[in-house]
Point group: T
Chain length 140, copies 12
């Protein structure tokens, strides 16, 4: 199977940004581990700080992937456009948040994506991406 992981703004800082909240491993290192564990599958990766590029990435995934793991970070709470893109394509999308968004500020409790995605995993750290991957692989 082909799965695309899409990361939103500031997740390029992972490993250096607020390590209490997000851990001290960079996403690149984590991705390497993940790929080495699932060698028979094609795991793509895209990160951008620009909302419109994330919209385009979701749109284009339709041609090349069987599912998406989406952590839109800050845009999760304000972007109707990314949510619309998720609705427009017909892939299974699982929403992931590294930190527990319900332990943080009120404005992080709501996401436009939750009701558009198959489901959500929040607060389980980078492990959340691995669990989402397993769900997508098993749900085919």
């Amino acid at each position: 199977m082909r799965i695309l992981i899409i990361n939103g703004p500031n997740l390029n800082l992972l490993g250096t940004r607020e390590p209490d909240l997000y851990g001290s491993q960079s996403f690149e290192d984590f991705l390497k581990e993940l790929k080495s564990k699932y060698t028979s599958h094609d795991i793509g990766y895209f990160q951008s700080n620009i909302e419109g590029e994330l919209i385009s990435a979701v749109q284009q995934a339709k041609q090349n992937y069987d599912g998406i793991i989406l952590n839109a970070a800050a845009y999760s709470h304000t972007s109707i456009g990314i949510a619309d893109a998720v609705t427009a394509i017909e892939l299974s999308v699982v929403e992931v948040h590294i930190s527990n968004i319900y332990k943080r500020e009120n404005f992080r409790h709501f996401t436009y994506l939750s009701s558009r995605c198959v489901g959500t995993i929040s607060g389980l750290g980078l492990k959340g991406y691995a669990l989402a991957l397993e769900f997508l692989l098993s749900s085919k």
Copy 2:
């Protein structure tokens, strides 16, 4: 007259995205029809998924166009920046929505643009662009 049509995020999918809501004609086909009907006028077109590029498009229209037809799609409901650009230039701008935004989710009922534009046409399908065009041509 020179009129610029600006389309926001996900409208590049028109014709394939949720055809119940948006119809099955692509915008490019519709635009060809429209231009062929108004050959004595200059009808420009710009689409982007990136909010900041839409802001720039509105700003630059001032030099080259006499009016704007603006469907900012998902950004209509959240973008103060596009609304500020509309206020900053002195062109007539008509807001268009293909679907009836009042039949959809609550967060689509409000747009930052409505109070900045001359007026709004919502729910009349692609025909809404043609009516907006007629309004702009007749209001000069």
Copy 3:
């Protein structure tokens, strides 16, 4: 085609009431122009200050008309009864507002009619009625 234009309270004052907002042409004059332009169609007209009479007018349009252009004015924002009548009949109804209701008081931003009508045209002056008419004629 037979189209009924229904105007709500205070629109009988058009031409004299707040001309900045509503223009200085009376509706009767405008109607004459409109009819002279669409002589092959039957354009009816009804105005009342009484909510219940507007409800009855919508109900009865079903027998005699193919579509309605409805400007319920002040009642747009409070009348569930007119909205229910629109739902009860099976004609296409286009909502029109002469002024841009989003540039005015907050209580004018919501209308019970928007989600019941095919679509809405707001802020394009009396021209809005003409555009609504064109939409109804073209949508058959």
Copy 4:
């Protein structure tokens, strides 16, 4: 006993309007059945689409009736005037809604009448009128 049934806007369409919600029997037919079952009682009937006429009907019931069954339909949710009339007279009034107003739009969940009437019957179809009648007859 003398009981007046008062029906509000759009209930004149009963039997033809949204039959899923309101059933396919006209109110006139139902009323005939009801009267034939309660021949020893005087059952009056009044319907209007005009709020002010409903207010007057409630006021005047005081002279001629011992109780009122009131389905103010759309006005239930917005009319302080009908509610004031109910308070002003001293008859028992039972509020009836044919459809279950709590399964519908939010704005139908509140009525100004509920707190002024003896009680409310909602969602039990035309049968609700018969039950209200039985309550009024038994409560004397």
Copy 5:
């Protein structure tokens, strides 16, 4: 001077309706007293339970009167149409409420009329009409 007093729904019951709140004098008796005190002025009177008739009364006062005393009763809190009529004409209008609307239910604390009228007198009983009259006579 010519002053029109306009009373809204249920005020025809004055003297019999909730005398604790509204007193036991009928409006007709009060009006007779008032007229006998101001014989050199022309005091008109109009009452209706129908919102649309109140709108029309306000509209038409423009031709025949120099000022209006307006107690729209229950409609004060919900009628944008009456408020629009007050704005449309150019007469001085004083809003009067017999009872103190701030001692009653929450929905009576706001009126659409207050911000359209010159001023408001609330809670001073029928005396409020006399004081409003004096204000209008003195303000010419």
Copy 6:
């Protein structure tokens, strides 16, 4: 037919608790009367102060009854679990409240059950149970 009446918390006090609001007859006495009037039907009864036991009672009614009359009392306003149980079974359920819940505190105006039950009878005293019974018997 077999109908189960389910009463929620504090209704075991009926007859002694706030007699102004709830009357002075105990539910047991009322039930005896009701059964004697409907001897050809099987009328079951269950009361509990414990939310979870009410959930279980609704669940189990599916096997033994044709309909439920449900007065969940204080839990009506807070229990998603009882409402979920009503949705999960496929019996007709009529909601009953002895007192008029709209004349009482704001938090009693909403119930989670109203939108899940066929309909609601409120404010008609113990008579409400008898009317609900008649509805269920007649609706088969």
Copy 7:
């Protein structure tokens, strides 16, 4: 009769402060006129910018006056303490506002005093004090 006029903060600036809103007459001049017109009555006057001194003034009026005309200005909207003082004494108190508080900012639309006073006069200028005085004199 003995009537005390109490004025709150910034009303010492009357005549100089925002003359569009408050007129150009000082309160002292107005008071002189008023007293000269009602020589047979004792009209007291107190002004303070300090909330607690206004509370004390209301408390002490009980011994020396038969009624109060109270314009608490800015404190009207925030002072529970002045409202409590009005409740604690047993004099008739009429609330007066010079400008129409409903034409101004939202936070001026509510006053803690309105529901504690006999009634309110708003928007009728300094004339409001004279009308309040007449009401108090006539209501004895």
Copy 8:
């Protein structure tokens, strides 16, 4: 490791209740599968419709388990008591919801548990329990 799965109200109906939403497998069957896959771990199970019994179950887990998988169902949205119990013990608790709670009624979008648990898995069906289990096993 010893992990306790706690299920709340109506989850005893799994497999029969609204299969569109919850699937058609009973929890007992699912549990058997799960246990057979993780034979080296001790997986306990508790279900109750009674909030207080769920509180007690959470409290007592402290002695016998190393982690909890908690699906409090309807109580998730209203029970401060279960949330307090989660805070009071010091075990890792993962919240699971079978259906996507963000695709359902508004009152299901908030849970008192989310901010007390390590994290939440929502919308991934019964698979959600398996992923939660894997997280707990891996996080030691």
Copy 9:
């Protein structure tokens, strides 16, 4: 005198649960001290995690006690049923909270019990029970 102390959910953990907030003394030890100080009075004690059992305990106190000290803990904020039970009996009930509920989450600031009890003591630790006891003993 006979006084019943009723404790709600999770208070069985006192002494071990969040000692910063609730102190490190178990309630049993505290109760022993209290009883030894008031030997001439009968001090009963009941604790449950189940809302319905707390309702029943309040109901039954009527026969055997002269007053109640009630700490309903988490249920204080959501239980209409316990509040109804307090209203139904005619004993003096004092509400106690060990921690200062106003220093904690927003949802703990409101309790359904406060307006039904004689008064409330919050934030004074276990000492609050002793002060409530003294109040009840002195108020007879």
Copy 10:
């Protein structure tokens, strides 16, 4: 120990103001009793109607007292300044309300002081001051 009792606006009227709510004993009499019971302690007293003087009194208590009993009355609900003063000093402050503030108007349910003080005693009459005193004496 040295304890200062601070009373806010209108509490100087105690004994005469609304005796149903506040009792008929003056505070001076009550204070005399209290002092005679705790002769070994120094009990100070300050009352003012002026918010700023209450702020100053709290500030200065730091030098001369070991604890404060604070009934800020009407200012409790609006004064951030008194709350800031409580935070600025480092004495234990107990908030007292004579009447049960939760049985009164909504605006009295919130106080800025509750979250700044050690705890609150509400509704226990003048006895509340005595209980607060006992708490402060025992908590040293």
Copy 11:
């Protein structure tokens, strides 16, 4: 130029009150430094805990000063009276807050003064006064 610095409640404690938030320098010391730096200008200073005295200070500044630096502290968030005084005079007023009011409680995020003053400086410590001074000196 002549500039008046006005400080509100509790700012007399500066240097001793919550030094984390407000620093450990007293305002008197800071003022001395400031004056020594701007010897060619007249810098006045006024502090009070009493809202009404702050109102009076703003009013009187009109005669003697060319601009005001205003830190109304706690009153910023509740005082319409001080805001009205700022509007009534015609001096430039700059609002200063020592701490960052947006990092603190919600009720400190709004001030009545912000929209009446030229501008606001928040969170820059005592340095904020110096910057405000520079602005006022440079803006003449």
Copy 12:
């Protein structure tokens, strides 16, 4: 010191856009003046209409600058991503707004940045940048 000034959307129009609100000087001219005054410091400048580019600019400033002056314009009110970037780096950031955001639309009164920055300067025109610079230079 090295300070980076970051300007958000539409600020590229400065000098031409709404000069009443923003003045008629272009930012480039202002910057030249500023640099000429602080020649011993390194003042960088970045402007973009694209939110994601502003996020990246904040992230990258960490390597090359000692402080940031940030005017995110329209994005201030909606961008969680820029606010997260400010939190992620460890530089001092001062928020600047040219116009007084509290004199404008409600949606401009809140910014996500205020609570993440050291402080805010609003309404002091381009001078605000200079004051922010001085603060940053002095706070080292």
